[in-house]
Symmetry: C2
Subunit: 480 residues, 2 copies
């Protein structure tokens, strides 16, 4: 396949032109201001860039992209820069220009009859949740970085999170997108229709393509009725199978009420209790396996506490459930959720850890947990498997924390072996190496290794057709 | 854009090669056998073809496509041939080969823990519904042609139907697809993961592309818990706004319980009562506007009859509801559904009608119904607007039946004006001209007229990248 890379650096002339398009607030060349945008949250790489553009409107961005595209300057779109796979930062060349969507942060429209909201790419998820809630509705996307992550980034990575089991990923919440194409032209795809089959589903191509086919500038999203009742339980379960069986029990009673169904290993919980302030063991004994279950419903007469108690009682009788506590206050709810949400931070503090973002068919989650934990312990004696994640989606972060008596460096030297180990098991279970974090820069090699010829070839053909000079977010997802 | 059309006819050599690949059952050249495959259900066009291939396996189809593609012979995939837009039939040239998926009709796997089923493209929807139901599950896709329509066709058109308001279109039920590409290579995309972000979402590109980018040969689909309770009501409502308000009432009480929410005009019902056997007016008076509401839930304790009565009582008090009947037996249920399902057939028998498949934002459905009906009556005095459809999805078939005192020919002469009239209104309401039937051959011009340059250009770039010689289902969706 022919691929022409024509990267050019920013010249003073181009900078002048961009300044004229964007104004002084829209063009940033101060390296101090740029610094936070050059690295990712996980600090995996350290990039460089001469400039960051901060367009205020789609028209400004369109004109700027036309200018950069014409000059052959590569562009890296950035939202909240919360990627787990170095998906939104420039490379080390200093030739790539960052395009920040932060000033495009307006809610363009909200319609509570239609149950839709149209938001610009730079709207922070938490703000959108609040806009929805103030209007008496619910926007379900929810994840740890929701205070920084933006709608554009969430859609371009098809983000997952805690409520996917009920509402799907970002993709399923999207009705339409507005996109600035690699040539600077704009697709005005902000249709807010439940049914629209007019040619190829371009919106679904842009969602999940991580800014490599164009820049999402706004989206029309679905809203849902707000929950009128909730119930949250923290449960110790007998083993991995019991965790899945408990999910199945709830699903068969009322699949629509399961908003989250999260798994935590005993090891993961122990790390949270050790390294995080203001957390407490919620049960009388430390569990080997725990699940956090959130039920929610909008129907006024829903008795979700009753449902929770009834199903847990069944599971207790069946020997699957060992102990459980149901949150009685808002503070209690927050405390139980904190045990789950602080898993990444606790593992960060516990030393070096190898992280991943794998998924398997839901039915195979117990096998994944067992096989990978056992293989980890054999591979690195003393290492601490600390898996957690979304059991109802089959998406487990099958993480491994270094042994206490091993240096971080020695453990890191084994990280490739550890990743290969979990990937071999996941592949054997018909799973994926990238469930909800995407490919970014970190997993480009893995994508090449996993996807067979025709699938990767087809992706490359689409990339070349839309972005023939590979100017959009180069080095991410695919390479020439 | 460069497009090379290199169509060749079938030569005896190619036929020999195809015979060797497919065997005698797999290659049909008998014109008697071909006849039913040359025209569509609506008999809009009459095509021709020298041969139909009936591969039994993906490997056979792959080899046959490699042969045809190498020889430059255009291919038309065909499932149940129930397209409403002439999407699955060959053109008049006689140069196009029909590829029937009818022999690829196996259920490859069903997993009731995972709640997934993998079915080949030729599986008839009704059979899949039965397989799911026999396994204690529910497959939600349901539409009038379910006794003939196949999984491959339903996915390649992203079919809608009656349960979309709750479960989405065919797209939302799909987890993975297997596809034979235009070059004959195979994408093995039958992953059954709830979360998988590994590069571009090719599965979503093939869904809805109507066989123009490749042939879907199998799909992994989601299953749901079977309903344990149902309630069905047929209601006379005061006007178009009352119909939408009633939908909103149910949505705010329990949005998960609304399985179908269908609108019927008084005129449409009158045509059904006049032209269809064994139907009866369900209420004491003929309504001007009616809705059919199906509630369903899997939770054992759901009191949906109670919910139905409660919400209808509210609507009665508010003056929105005029009369209602709740089905008491299976026979009664079937009779009420028949009033809705026989709308297309009744309109067929009532003379010439102009049909469409438009959608608007849900909030704008009443305005669509009012404006289009009024405009129709002005445009063709005496004509009978008979709209019906899925109010909860904003998808209304805004059909118009000829006046009783006008010839069919005279009415047909106005069909372009009528289509323009409804399209102008739909466009003004931010709607779509193709909600659930797709583009096929019938709406290629409309797609070109409606979609702005960058959107259509992007579709064309993708088409050319994947199918450079336009061999896959030529003349459908896009043209060079």
């Amino acid at each position: 396949m022919e691929t022409r890379l024509l990267y050019n650096s920013l010249t003073p002339d181009i900078l002048n032109e961009l300044g004229a398009i964007l104004g002084s607030r829209g063009l940033c060349t101060d390296q101090n201001d740029l610094t936070p945008h050059l690295s990712d949250w996980r600090r995996l790489y350290k990039g460089a860039s001469l400039a960051m553009l901060r367009p205020a409107t789609t028209a400004e961005l369109s004109a700027a992209v036309k200018c950069l595209s014409g000059a052959g300057v590569p562009m890296v779109p950035q939202g909240g820069n919360t990627s787990m796979v170095a998906g939104a930062m420039p490379d080390e060349s200093g030739q790539q220009v960052i395009i920040s969507l932060s000033r495009m942060n307006r809610i363009r429209e909200i319609d509570t009859v239609d149950m839709t909201v149209t938001a610009e790419a730079g709207v922070i998820l938490q703000n959108l949740q609040k806009v929805a809630s103030d209007a008496g509705c619910f926007f379900p996307l929810s994840l740890a970085s929701e205070g920084s992550a933006t709608i554009g980034g969430l859609l371009s990575t098809n983000a997952g999170g805690n409520n996917t089991v009920r509402y799907g990923n970002a993709r399923e919440l999207m009705l339409g997108v507005e996109v600035v194409l690699p040539d600077g032209n704009v697709i005005n795809g902000l249709r807010r229709l439940r049914k629209d089959n007019t040619g190829y589903a371009l919106r679904h191509l842009f969602v999940g393509s991580e800014g490599t086919l164009g820049i999402i500038t706004a989206a029309t999203l679905r809203l849902f009725p707000a929950a009128r009742s909730n119930a949250l339980a923290f449960c110790a379960v007998a083993d991995e199978d019991a965790a899945l069986n408990l999910f199945r029990r709830f699903r068969s009673h009322d699949e629509t009420a399961i908003r989250s169904f999260e798994y935590m290993s005993g090891q993961g919980l122990a790390l949270v209790l050790k390294h995080i302030e203001n957390v407490a063991q919620p049960l009388s004994a430390a569990p080997d396996h725990a699940v956090l279950i959130e039920l929610a419903a909008s129907r006024p007469e829903a008795d979700l506490s009753g449902l929770m108690e009834r199903v847990l009682e069944e599971a207790l009788t069946a020997g699957e459930l060992e102990d459980a506590v149901i949150a009685q206050t808002e503070g209690h709810r927050a405390a139980l959720w904190k045990l789950r949400e602080e898993h990444p931070e606790a593992q960060q503090r516990a030393g070096v850890s190898v992280r991943n973002d794998v998924s398997v068919p839901v039915a195979k989650v117990p096998e994944l947990l067992r096989r990978a934990s056992q293989a980890f312990r054999q591979l690195v004696p003393g290492s601490r498997p600390a898996p957690f994640g979304h059991i109802g989606d089959g998406n487990i972060h099958m993480n491994l924390v270094q042994p206490e008596d091993m240096s971080g460096e020695a453990f890191l030297a084994k990280s490739a072996d550890i990743m290969n180990c979990v990937h071999d098991i996941v592949r054997d279970l018909d799973g994926s190496f990238a469930a909800e974090h995407g490919i970014g820069r970190l997993k480009v090699n893995t994508l090449e290794a996993w996807r067979e010829g025709p699938e990767l070839d087809t992706m490359r053909k689409i990339k070349v057709a839309l972005d023939p000079h590979w100017l959009m977010n180069p080095g991410k997802v695919l390479r020439p």
